[in-house]
Symmetry: C2
Subunit: 338 residues, 2 copies
């Protein structure tokens, strides 16, 4: 049995806020504590406290600059370009989505391009912020190369594409519809887990030595041969999301990101669409009807289990394995922010 520790929302938020306040200004510590706490309470544990030590480590390495702040490069009614200046990724993303929402409230739709940023942690949170403001959010990021391109003979061991996650969020009262997917069939975290359990992947998720699809998790993990959703189709989507991220922000592409250490200077796009602008209150009865129909077809709508998990966690609290919580407590960047 694993030792665990149980937190209510405010307890976890305050504990993280305390830790982060040693390195960040008050507002920034609160924003970061919120995104970690929200990830845990929404059940996105792969993007919650597990990533806290890594976040702190990237500050130590100088990949994230806790003293830096995003800077607006250009500003118009329906679009904005922001230089993240290697400030913490979640703070840059929140800054960007706030501007996208405000502009969409005015123009109906708005695009914010963010360059020179780093990992945004759990992006569904930005879709939640937009949904609370009655905005659809479509946002994506590029990444380090971590996926093989589909081709006649994929170059095993040399990933060239990013898994470039995309998030689509649709307002729906207090139960937003949030879909969050990377272009890879499985993350390396998931592949590693199957490999360690000596299990095959449930569907093919990478290439074998001869370039054919395989669900051999150990082999894929060993030779870094993870594949895209839909093979050639996800490869194409990955390329398009990367090209758009690079050209709409003036920032670096996946290949350019690969030229320096770690996952720095990535590029992100945030498109907000104000649905009040379109339909007002009619919108919500429409969405309710559409979702009801999915449920009667016994399909899960994206975000359905997230909303259920959240409702449960809000009552019962979240249970964190003790070793993860200890790693959080012990993770202090060498380079402190004064």
């Amino acid at each position: 049995m694993t030792d665990t520790v149980i937190f209510q929302y405010d307890e976890l938020f305050e504990a993280l806020n305390g830790l982060l306040s040693e390195h960040f200004e008050q507002a920034e510590a609160k924003a970061l504590a919120t995104i970690f706490t929200e990830a845990e309470f929404d059940g996105l544990v792969t993007h919650g406290l597990k990533r806290f030590p890594r976040f702190m480590d990237e500050i130590s390495r100088g990949w994230i600059n806790p003293r830096s702040k995003a800077r607006i490069l250009s500003d118009a009614d329906a679009w904005m370009v922001i230089d993240g200046q290697q400030a913490p990724g979640p703070l840059n993303a929140m800054f960007s989505v706030d501007h996208a929402i405000n502009k969409a409230k005015h123009s109906g739709i708005a695009l914010v391009g963010l360059k020179n940023t780093n990992h945004w942690l759990r992006p569904g949170y930005y879709a939640k912020l937009a949904a609370r403001a009655n905005c659809v959010l479509i946002c994506w990021t590029n990444t380090i190369p971590n996926m093989l391109a589909h081709s006649q003979s994929p170059t095993i061991g040399k990933p060239t594409l990013g898994n470039n996650p995309i998030v689509i969020g649709i307002p729906n009262g207090d139960k937003p519809i949030i879909f969050d997917t990377a272009m890879s069939q499985f993350s390396y975290g998931k592949i590693q887990q199957y490999a360690e359990d000596n299990k095959p992947l449930p569907v093919a998720g990478g290439y074998s030595d001869d370039g054919n699809p395989t669900n051999n998790a150990a082999k894929i993990f060993e030779q870094l041969s993870a594949s895209a959703i839909g093979w050639w189709k996800g490869s194409g989507l990955s390329i398009m999301l990367d090209l758009l991220a690079a050209v709409l922000t003036g920032g670096q592409s996946v290949e350019e990101v690969s030229r320096h250490e770690g996952e720095q200077n990535i590029s992100q796009v945030f498109i907000a669409i104000n649905i009040e602008h379109l339909w007002g209150d009619q919108y919500f009865s429409r969405i309710a009807n559409l979702i009801f129909q999915l449920e009667t077809d016994e399909i899960h709508w994206p975000g359905q289990s997230l909303n259920r998990t959240r409702a449960k966690n809000d009552i019962e609290g979240v249970t964190i394995p003790l070793h993860i919580w200890q790693a959080v407590l012990e993770s202090t960047p060498n380079q402190k922010h004064h």
Copy 2:
């Protein structure tokens, strides 16, 4: 050997324009002749002349109304909602993308929602129109239900999701980068072809009786069990694209489309982004560099083979199987447009 007929661009355009002029006003006949000719010359033969008889047949059935015209329902700086009023899908889509481009030229980004339309034929053409105007285009459509939702036990024989194609186009001088993909791993046309050739699909593309992935083309074709790209991931994407298409236009969802005969009253979204607005001429050297990098990694960029095919066809003309050309000549809607 199949008998064939070879056309130069202007020959094919004029022949189709002549046929279409019997049923459509001059400008509309030209627009429709252009989209069929462009599909053939760009090598998208599945969405070219092969679909001409079906287009005419849907007019006969009353699913497409050749006398109807799109009507603007609401209009603002950066967005517009259009009722397609069952006018021909390609004309509705061209009307929508024209407005999206014009608005993006003013606002940087613009969204046009189109409801009550029908099949847009070959959507890459709309991305080409946008690219010529130096606009990125992101557009998608919903469809009739033609794909199984991924679940623990998919309901074989009862598709509930649309394959909801999405198109992303990026300007790149006279060689636009155009990516066009449905959310299904294979179209039923492709699956049928493999089934008739007694070949398995190159990767799993549907569900077997027990709900597991299979590449048995005959089985998938027989029991209508085609699957989404990336299984649960493409299922989620399909749902999100459908929900967005329905709520951003006020139009019908896949499930609502399924309640009446044929593929009528579908919903489409067009988002145009003016890249001149963002970077001016710097943009094109940036794109050239990014694409060059893709080529050196021996990855094909989306649209690369399309642009090569087009260059070849512009010189040599297109070769059409005679039986397809005869079907075009013989396809006359019963209900003529006077």
